[in-house]
């Protein structure tokens, strides 16, 4: 069990007082942004990228991982008490959780969500501990053609899963890819799409794109049509301790949710949304009380919450072992690695085991911290929602300016930020998801690099991508990912005409 030895070393790194402090800061920030509207873990990590100037990589990633996990916990709190999922992966939690809260069982819903998240997060981190070395071995066998195919797979799944139509997801993705092309081509040294503006030679920074589309775009969107009848927060009533019966009804959904979430999350095509929908459907089918679904069934909170946290841990597997992000937050984490000049993938495990295993060890610690912070304190976190919206969004704009100008010290970047914010507004107007664009900006250059290196090895023979069996198989999967959801929707619509209740459009902030 080599992994256990590595993990022990990781704990030595993560348990230093300094790194424990960074983990605590991370989970506190993460829970806060999970609760707050308009800002989520992806954006928060993007805004904090300036810390990479000073901070040791391992401390920075321990904090970022805390933000990532904390966002998942915080998102479920608002779903249950406010019926507004802060994260797309919490949409399903809102279905039953909010109904439970309305029936005065909000405390039980929060408890099953927090404990389920803890169980799932811990079990999935154990899974990650043992799966990562295996994936590293597989990753070592892959060549550029296979890596290119994997990136294509990530593109198509992210595109097909988010937003109201595949065409819109593709538009967002290609827009991101186009932005990613700006600047000097690393392989040939030629400048591309710089329009003669010298500041564009270095390309458009990922932070500018993420902050512009997510934060400035969302602020414009909210400003243009502010909700004047905000949802009512349901006060937490009752004890946080679940009854015996609630425990009995929760533990199996937790484990089943974990079993769904971790494998799907760790696939190079995963994401956190699908397992939550699957878990909900599964619990509804297996429940001894199916009549309670739609009226606040505890299984409908326990399962999906476990699934979403397990998949969050799963997403780190392809990110760390293959350098392949499958969610917006993971994509920003990849950008953070790039800023340190690090390339996640098989070689990172060999070159910098302290970083990788310290990060994995910190996930165990972060989960414990989050359980302690969320179980008794959910009511306190919800008070964050009392911040007046004008002040919240004004502060988001200040942080957006800080994150962008602080990194480059260039007002040109601020202009680009505002233009991207305007585009983010237009995209929301047309219901175009912004996450694929952010993923495109980050992964586009990675994809081009693999693509061209693969063709160099193959002497310019383009069939290399389909004659190498693994690459061909992955590309077939990518095509299926693109065609399957619309086909499934069409089949569903044909089967049962008007009633389609599944929430199809998701949003990530």
């Amino acid at each position: 069990m080599e992994a256990l030895g590595d993990l022990a070393r990781g704990f030595e790194v993560a348990l230093t007082p300094e790194n424990l402090l960074w983990a605590l800061i991370g989970v506190l920030l993460g829970t806060a942004v999970g609760v707050l509207p308009g800002i989520g873990p992806a954006l928060t990590v993007a805004l904090l990228l300036p810390v990479t100037y000073r901070l040791e990589p391992v401390s920075a990633f321990i904090m970022f991982a805390g933000i990532y996990y904390g966002g998942m916990y915080g998102g479920s709190t608002t779903s249950i008490l406010l019926n507004t999922p802060g994260e797309s992966a919490s949409i399903v939690t809102a279905l039953e959780g909010n109904l439970m809260a309305k029936k005065g069982r909000g405390a039980a819903a929060l408890a099953t969500a927090a404990i389920g998240s803890f169980v799932a997060g811990t079990v999935a981190t154990i899974g990650l501990t043992f799966l990562a070395p295996v994936m590293v071995q597989i990753g070592l066998k892959f060549g550029p053609a296979e890596y290119f195919a994997l990136v294509v797979l990530a593109f198509t799944t992210i595109t097909a899963l988010l937003g109201s139509s595949v065409a819109r997801g593709m538009l967002s993705l290609f827009f991101g890819l186009a932005l990613g092309l700006i600047g000097i081509d690393t392989l040939s040294g030629q400048s591309r799409f710089t329009l003669g503006i010298p500041q564009l030679l270095d390309g458009i920074d990922v932070v500018t794109v993420a902050v512009g589309l997510f934060a400035v775009g969302e602020t414009f969107w909210v400003a243009s049509r502010m909700r004047h009848d905000p949802d009512q927060i349901i006060p937490v009533k009752g004890t946080i301790w679940m009854t015996r019966q609630e425990w009995a009804r929760s533990w199996k959904p937790w484990l089943r949710g974990t079993a769904l979430g971790f494998p799907i999350g760790s696939l190079p095509a995963g994401g956190a949304e699908i397992p939550t929908f699957l878990s909900y459907a599964m619990e509804k089918r297996l429940s001894k009380h199916p009549e309670e679904f739609g009226h606040g069934a505890i299984e409908g909170v326990a399962g999906p919450e476990a699934a979403n946290n397990a998949s969050a841990a799963g997403v780190l597997a392809p990110l760390l072992t293959l350098g392949l992000p499958t969610s917006a937050t993971a994509a920003i984490l990849l950008a953070a690695f790039q800023r340190y000049g690090l390339n996640p993938g098989p070689t990172l495990f060999r070159q910098d085991p302290d970083l990788v295993w310290g990060l994995i060890a910190s996930l165990y610690i972060g989960n414990v911290m989050l359980l302690v912070l969320n179980l008794p304190l959910a009511g306190v976190w919800v008070r964050l929602l009392a911040i007046p919206r004008p002040l919240l969004y004004a502060a988001i704009l200040v942080f957006a300016g800080l994150g962008t100008y602080g990194l480059s010290g260039s007002t040109v970047d601020l202009v680009v930020l505002y233009l991207l914010g305007a585009l983010g507004f237009v995209m929301r107007r047309f219901d175009i998801p912004v996450a694929p664009a952010v993923v495109g900006v980050i992964l586009g250059p990675v994809a081009e690099d693999h693509f061209r290196r693969a063709l160099q090895i193959a002497q310019g023979n383009y069939t290399t991508f389909i004659t190498r069996p693994i690459s061909a198989a992955i590309l077939v999967l990518a095509a299926i990912a693109l065609v399957a959801p619309p086909a499934f929707r069409w089949w569903q619509a044909k089967r049962q005409r008007p009633q389609s209740t599944s929430p199809t459009s998701a949003r990530i902030t």
């Binding site: 139509s165 092309l181 591309r192 704009l397 107007r429 310019g460």
Partner: protein, 168 residues
Amino acid sequence: MTPTPWSRRINIGEMLLALGTVVFGVLIIWQTTLIRLTPAYSMVGPRVIPYIVGAGLVIVGAWLAYEALTGRAPVGSTDSEDADPTLPTDWRTVGLLVLALIAYLFLIEPAGFIIASATLFVGAAFAMGSRRTARDIAIGIVMATVLYIGFNRGLGLSLPAGILEGIV
């Protein structure tokens, strides 16, 4: 979240979106032809992927146009926690917000980070409906100062001091 309604009518906005996408793709292809090729570098040059991206945009644009013309385009806007997608655009608020951002752009280097950020905070809060301006000014100044000191001293950024040079 309710399922997106499917409209039968052809939507002008949708057609503009499709057209804009095609134009953007064509612009990319045109700009790609201007990328210089180095003869020493033969196998796969810097133009290949840009051509693919440009062509992809043209295809997506055509696809959007097809959806709009056949009434398949989902008509609606992104649902959001604080935004009501059914409301019309409130251009006054957006306009005030743009003014606050422009003020930030022109203040950050001459006047410094603290003044620019406090101005942006107060302006944006006012634009979005906050009328307790004295409170907002106080919060804005404190927040901007804390951020300035924290990021410059703690993280080694060099945010501009501007006219407050020597004071903070």
